[in-house]
Amino acid sequence: MTEDSWEVAGRRFTSRLIVGTGRYKSLEETRDSIAASGAEIVTVAVRRVNLSDPSAPMLQDFVPPDRYTYLPNTAGCFTAQDAVRTLRLAREAGGWNLVKLEVLGPPPFLYPDMAATFEAAAALIADGFEVMVYCADDPVAAKRLEEMGCVAIMPLGAPIGSGMGVVNPYMIRAIKAAAKVPVLVDAGIGTASEAAFAMELGCDAVLLNSAIAHAQNPVKMAEAMKHAVIAGRAAHLAGRMPRDYKADASSPMTGLIR
């Protein structure tokens, strides 16, 4: 049997779990949690260096880019220009053109700003980036992003950091059914069963951060997420039994003692 794997922008991965590197208590905890998750891709943010403490330990020292595929994000960008500027710097810092685009609306929901996301996606694709795009759970928008040339469609399960799970599974399934590029649930996952559920819907992978970083024991939750994604994927491939409201006995009704 060949190993189950997935491909995005010509790169092949075995792990179907992508994890963020933010919100951990320390870089040590970041390192240990990511190792426990089994993830091969990690998202990272681009920020100014702290000039007053240039010798402060850096993410690369704990999460080495030669071991993990860095997926730079555009968190904090509210316009297409900012997103392109940020990712050009990321490309120079690491040489990566595979990126995660996210253009967010205001709090309290940080919901994807789709008009700005379309504009930024067009600018990034024109500049040679391979764009994995965070988006609304909107099948029309998702299809349009794919047609523009985005290499992965990443609808939210629920708002970023909310831990509400996959609140609109029908639309996630609809987006996956129509897509020819990988579909990932990005944001909203709170615990292992929700990651498994996203995979059971047929998603190619799951992207999460807070569910691990904000767990009471992040390393333990990272391990749980690793197994959840594997289990959810296997259940999807196995094909679940049909649902019925009435019972269907699982022990034979013949040969009963009298």
Binding site: R47, L89, N209
Partner: protein, 73 residues
Amino acid sequence: MSELAERLKLTVNGEARRVPAGLTVAGLLAEIGLAERKVAVERNLEIVPRSQYATTALAEGDAIEIVHFIGGG
């Protein structure tokens, strides 16, 4: 010539900074104490390729951004 006249006024990550005239991007990173391979540099909104750090001289009034990767989701 006064000492100040030999120094350039730059903005680095939003902070005013004076550096010796003729300093290159590589020199600025060394002065701050940053490893070249861990950062990316933008000069007046244009990326400075790493291969040109040693040959790019800074000019009066340059706006420099020095960024790196941090944890993010």
